[in-house]
Symmetry: C2
Subunit: 399 residues, 2 copies
Amino acid sequence: MNKRVRHVALVCGLVLGFLTPIARTAAQQPPPPAGGGRGGGRGPVVSPEVRADGTITFRFSAPNAREVTLIGELDGKTYPMSKNAAGVWEVTVGPWPHDVYNYQFRVDATEGRGGVIAMDPANPSVKLGFGGFPPANLVEVPGKSGLEFDDAKNVPHGTVRIETYHSTSLGVPRTVWIYTPPGYDTNRTRYPAFYLLHGSGNIESSWMLTGRANLIMDNLIAEGRAKPMIIVNPLGYARQGVGLGPEVTQVATAPSASSGDTPFAQDLLKDVIPFVEKNFRTMPGADNRALGGLSMGGGQTIAIGFSHPDTFHSLVVMSAGATGAETTYPDFFAPATNKKIKLLWIGIGKDDFLLSNAKALDASLTAKGVNHIFRLTEGRHEWVVWRHHLHEVAPLLFR
Amino acid sequence: MNKRVRHVALVCGLVLGFLTPIARTAAQQPPPPAGGGRGGGRGPVVSPEVRADGTITFRFSAPNAREVTLIGELDGKTYPMSKNAAGVWEVTVGPWPHDVYNYQFRVDATEGRGGVIAMDPANPSVKLGFGGFPPANLVEVPGKSGLEFDDAKNVPHGTVRIETYHSTSLGVPRTVWIYTPPGYDTNRTRYPAFYLLHGSGNIESSWMLTGRANLIMDNLIAEGRAKPMIIVNPLGYARQGVGLGPEVTQVATAPSASSGDTPFAQDLLKDVIPFVEKNFRTMPGADNRALGGLSMGGGQTIAIGFSHPDTFHSLVVMSAGATGAETTYPDFFAPATNKKIKLLWIGIGKDDFLLSNAKALDASLTAKGVNHIFRLTEGRHEWVVWRHHLHEVAPLLFR
């Protein structure tokens, strides 16, 4: 490859431009006209258009609509859009800092209700969702000074593996997503394992495809800041998969809050962990097992982790909390816990709607003398926060 | 697990019901009320509702809309929907045979144009798309007599691996999805490799997450009908990824039709294949390399495969074709080709809009005496066809 082309290509890799929205192939179709197709009525709609200064223009063709609003995680606000003569609605927002933001378009709502939620047909980047949390589009504002902590840098990369296992607890086949660190296939090393749970509305792929956990870990490991580890993302619902089969609400052992022995917990403890420890080179023992999760997964971490202190010696609770946990898990809120648990990390954004729950958990742990870290970070209840939380907590694990 | 619970759970695994659309967790929330939430205005909208007889009811809440139409691959038709008193639009279709169908809702179009395309917020199962082919929802009609060729049966399962590599041809990091057959991690066997390309509007995950290639191969291998093989799914566009970076239209070697040496072809030949052969236990030589693809990927298979008969000795063209290929690739349309190519399989649905192109390719190969199989199957230009094509052609490979 000659130098000029290489330079152009490398720059292309750095600038996440979203400039060619239609499905073209170099093998079959000509390059787009320069400067064409910017939503002015000629050519396809380009959306989103991300500029170097961090501003973004969103566009959406809906000539028959009477009102379109940009909604999503964004910066916590919604934005009314304006229609041009070609029937394309448009709004420019920002500048925003580097991150990956979710959005959708809400069409013809009445006082914010009853409208239709539409995806951006010009943007192929999608966050998959579950049920009450339908899919949303993703848009990235690139870092101003180059590649960021969650970008694919030119460092050794781990592998993301999708494994199918048959859950004896739930009686259904399920998939689990597993990150193995760089070098896993060629060495004979054993690794600690971090069981990392998604939130309500996410699925087993969310931590990798939306949360970029694999890229965050690749970068931390390359910098020598995190220990190489295996990360395991099971599906957090007691069912076969998204849209597959009804939820399993009964298993042999009756669930109880204090045992954390729900159908999902049984799948995790009796199926997922044995599957991983049989098929992957894990280091043995609770010192080498961490359990963590965001939101609903943080709640599951509290329920399962606090009731199984001999299984996991590291616990990570993101954007979740609990009131009265000391009553539900009295054995955990005792001095003996400090001899077992190596890390109990609770992190939450200062604008998260669950902040009071997290503070309640922090207070009850403090009152009972249970060692823990409470991190009040920037952010609301969204993926922008959880990528940063993983980046912050992974270096603390298995030390 | 007691027998009754196990029985219930197993049945749950077999019947793909879509009956619990909201994001609930057994750990935190109560089971849904029996019979509740069927779109009657109480509780969340349930959609799609798949019945044992193969009929499906789709529902979509849009109280302010004046017209909603069910669109998608479906059975090739569109279906107007009717609004009930609660503002929920509804239509029942079918009965349809077992398969996985795509759909969306089109809202407030004028004579079929200018409307808004919406996803089904009650259905988490999604086909990811690219650019001009935005995401669509998926709905499965289960097989009447149990699990089908593309379901997760209780057989040994292969692994789907997502690998990140740095393309020297394109100057960007990219991901490639790779299926390794059951037993790959524990034996020392070498395997043939099938480079299987997606179509326009698909991405590197499409053959696995939408096409279920991994489950189809698991089942064929368990039945002894297909040779265990590695399947490699690169991204078919010469760019970093979906929504990541502009397309690379220039590489060091100027593309020409007869060499198939486009930027994507260079990435495949100079980056993907060397990456796979370095990092996976592949059998050496062109006899153990197959190239195939659907639609745009079928076109890429013709362009690259016909110009590299010493690299791939098996070629699979699904739902694609070419007129005048004998002029573009004169060396391939010659008797010597029959001494190299072990399998040249061309398959297309009888209702595919590219049927005439496929027939033209069939005719020109026949005229020049190039051995091949031409299979006219049921179906149009859609995933329903390609799952069946893979199921039919995989047993013929590497014999």
